[in-house]
């Protein structure tokens, strides 16, 4: 014994070590809302040499067949779930249906981030951002991240709560089979606003709010998903990119190239979703950035120094020459009156051109609309899309590359673009 610095553990000491192990916080699962009741098996001692046999593919250095601490924890996390059939395939990720190994009735969505050919710089920004914020934000109206693990080929797998009822976009577009009213809109808007408030209260900008990022849980709860473009509030003076938010939902300050902005950018998107819920069509479906600005000028008003001091200093400020004065609430009543006068008041405030004057998420929650009749529908009673399709759609939403404008990608884009031609033809 004197010759060696090592002595073997007596077995009981090893046991003790394992117990200690369980008390060590970081050895436990970082995810509190595990659907499974599987006790963490991380107490498993490391197995140096176990399984080292049999594989002699490379003579030297021999492949490290054993797992270290890290790899072991990863295996444990991975083993908690069983990956099922593929729900959808996209450029950014594949989405699989999965379930908890200990309780197969607990369904999850496993989002497997693809290794991207065109991004040569390691872990892709969208994956990093998405994980960063989903790890921190726990709220009933924000999709919850249940676990993360890597598969051996170093693909990231995000285990997300399974949201089987599609997304808001489906409900909006299915004019023939889904009908809903002001009370339903109020319920959905309430959930969306609470999610956005929570993000902003935690100093997070979502930067990609749109109906197909609003997924619907089995109980009707709306969940904000896709944090692939999110970022924390910047310090004053720090520049941010203006190239965020899917075009139709992008506020004028970003279209004008502002590099300093606030939660007001998300609020504009919320307003666009609100309008879309009412008219059951995209409110401002611009084909290009120029077109987008033109639509804003026509339907809301032309941003000028009078209604937005300083706007002309923004780098990409250009507006159509025929200046449209900012429309008042009355102008909206005809098209959006279904949500009542208070509802329209809220809508107008979300779409104030000058971001400094735009309503905040907190002010939105304090608005009178929520307390006027009709009361918001209880989430269980909200209209939903029955039958297939929802699941496929939700999977399509999860796997889409964040920030890529949906209308540039899929069949929906083509369809909507045609629609747009009618509208644009007026010009």
């Amino acid at each position: 014994m004197g010759a060696s610095p090592l002595v073997a553990y007596p077995n009981d000491v090893l046991q003790q070590q394992q117990h200690q192990h369980h008390r060590i916080p970081s050895q436990q699962s970082p995810f509190r809302r595990q659907p499974s009741v599987n006790p963490p098996s991380n107490g498993t001692p490391l197995l140096p040499g176990a399984g080292a046999g049999g594989r002699s593919s490379a003579p030297h250095p021999q492949p490290p067949a054993t797992l270290d601490n890290l790899e072991q924890m990863n295996e444990d996390e991975k083993r908690k779930y069983v990956k099922g059939r593929k729900l959808g395939e996209g450029t950014y990720a594949n989405v699989y249906l999965g379930h908890s190994r200990s309780d197969p009735s607990v369904l999850v969505a496993i989002k497997k981030i693809k290794v991207q050919k065109e991004y040569q710089d390691g872990l892709a920004p969208d994956a990093v951002r998405e994980l960063k914020y989903l790890m921190e934000l726990h709220h009933p109206n924000i999709i919850s991240l249940l676990s993360v693990f890597s598969s051996k080929d170093q693909n990231l797998n995000l285990v997300l709560e399974y949201l089987p009822l599609g997304d808001l976009e489906m409900l909006i577009r299915n004019v023939d089979s889904v009908s809903y009213g002001a009370a339903d809109i109020k319920a959905w808007m309430g959930m969306l606003t609470r999610a956005v408030f929570f993000c902003h209260d935690n100093f997070v900008l979502h930067r990609d709010i749109k109906p197909n990022n609003l997924l619907i849980a089995a109980d009707g709860e709306v969940k904000l998903a896709d944090f692939g473009l999110a970022r924390s509030f910047a310090d004053p003076g720090h520049k941010m990119t203006s190239n965020v938010i899917t075009r139709w939902y992008r506020p004028p300050e970003l279209l004008f190239g502002a590099r300093h902005y606030s939660g007001a950018v998300d609020i504009w998107s919320v307003g666009c979703v609100f309008a879309e819920l009412i008219i059951r069509n995209a409110f401002l479906p611009g084909d290009s950035e120029v077109e987008q600005i033109a639509l804003i000028c026509r339907h809301i008003g032309t941003p000028t120094e009078e209604n937005w001091p300083g706007v002309t200093l923004l780098k990409e400020y250009t507006v159509p020459s025929d200046v449209v004065p900012v429309l008042g609430k009355e102008a909206y009543m005809g098209r959006f009156g279904a949500v009542g006068s208070e509802g329209v008041d809220l809508l107008v405030k979300t779409m104030i051109l000058d971001p400094k004057n735009r309503i905040t998420a907190r002010q939105m929650l304090e608005h009178r609309w929520w307390r006027t009749d009709p009361k918001p529908t209880r989430k269980e009673d909200l209209p939903r899309k029955s039958g297939g399709g929802a699941e496929v759609k939700a999977a399509a939403d999860l796997k889409r590359r964040p920030g890529v404008v949906a209308d540039d990608e899929g069949p929906r884009g083509a369809k909507v673009a045609r629609k747009l031609d009618f509208g644009a033809a007026k010009k």
């Binding site: 090592l6 490290p64 051996k152």
Partner: protein
Amino acid sequence: MATEDVRYRESSQFRLWSFSHSQLAAMRENTNAKAVASISERLSSLGATVPPSSIPMDISAPTSTANTPDPEGGGGTPRLPEFLSPADEATMVTFYTAELMRAGAHAEFSDEIIATAATLFRRFYVTNSIMTYPPQEMLVVALFFGCKAEGAFPRITDFLKTFGRERPEEILAGEFLLFRGIRFSIDVKHPFRALRGAVMELRSLGDIEETRIEAAERRAKDILRFSPLITDAYFHYTPSQIMMAALSLADRSLAERLIQATFHHVNVPEISGTNSGADTPNPTTTNTKETNKSEDNKAFIIGSYVRDKVLGTIESCRDMLSKELPERKEHWANRAVYKAQVVPLKKKLNKCHDPDRWNLVELQKVRREQALSSTKKLDGSEDESAALKDDGAVFGSEAKRRKVSGNKKLEDPFGGPL
């Protein structure tokens, strides 16, 4: 609406990466012991099979006497190197954290990027040993990932140019490892903004000289950029506690003034924690929010009991930071210190590091090959039985497992032999 405290407790920084002093020490000892055990095992098995004349590996019979003259006489674990102790590892982590910060400053990264990188680096080495993964590489990886964590996504080639390096694969191979090692928690909360807030509050008091405030801010900021990052402060204290400790080191009476201004309410003797009567507002229950007890609750929070607790915490954080004030930067960059403290450990490390994991590029390659072959083996199917089969192959059978852990050589938890 959640208070700031409640919100902080939701953060991954608190949930996953905040520990008591004894917890942290236990984790590090555990990490060290495991690394020693696994590297010993590995080195022994390599030592038994690598002699020049031996035939490449017959692992199914590791105790085979075919080519080894006398395994029994060799004493079972011959020629094992001297391993790093937990204290050695701590010194190395500290040294490399200093190196990381130097590199970050050289590259002119923002305070946040450097601070995040340093924090992630130290978190990684709580559950991973310096002997397992190479710190020199991991510090560059941490800087690269720190950029990403803070929302900057540099091109790897540009990033490497700054450090005069050329092989992107070295960084990229380590990136995923780091990511996993930090349990995917990317968000690090820093005390920099808290300091700005404190300075504004001091200004609003109206009777403090501006030059004094500015001097205190400068010094406190310098401290925040170094001291909490190279010590364990982030593991034990919240950003605001760290900020107050730094401010206190910069100008103690200014810090005390802030505390005074916050805890101005002093007459709450009857609810000083010992009394748990029915009418005592308990700040941890959820239903106190809108009751008329909220006044009492407020009195409790800004009363002397909490104030003294806060003062005590700030004081202990101050002690920790005072051991590594910014002047110590020179200490860690000093050649003599390097020679006396770091070089001996590096020499040890050269002999006792994990032979399988030291080369990150090679490790990644091996892992990828394993993934590929296991996918082939499973024929693409991902159902439960196949997965279990796979796990069996990785872990070995239960019986084998026991046997191995029974024979395992581990470092004595009560210290080395006398």
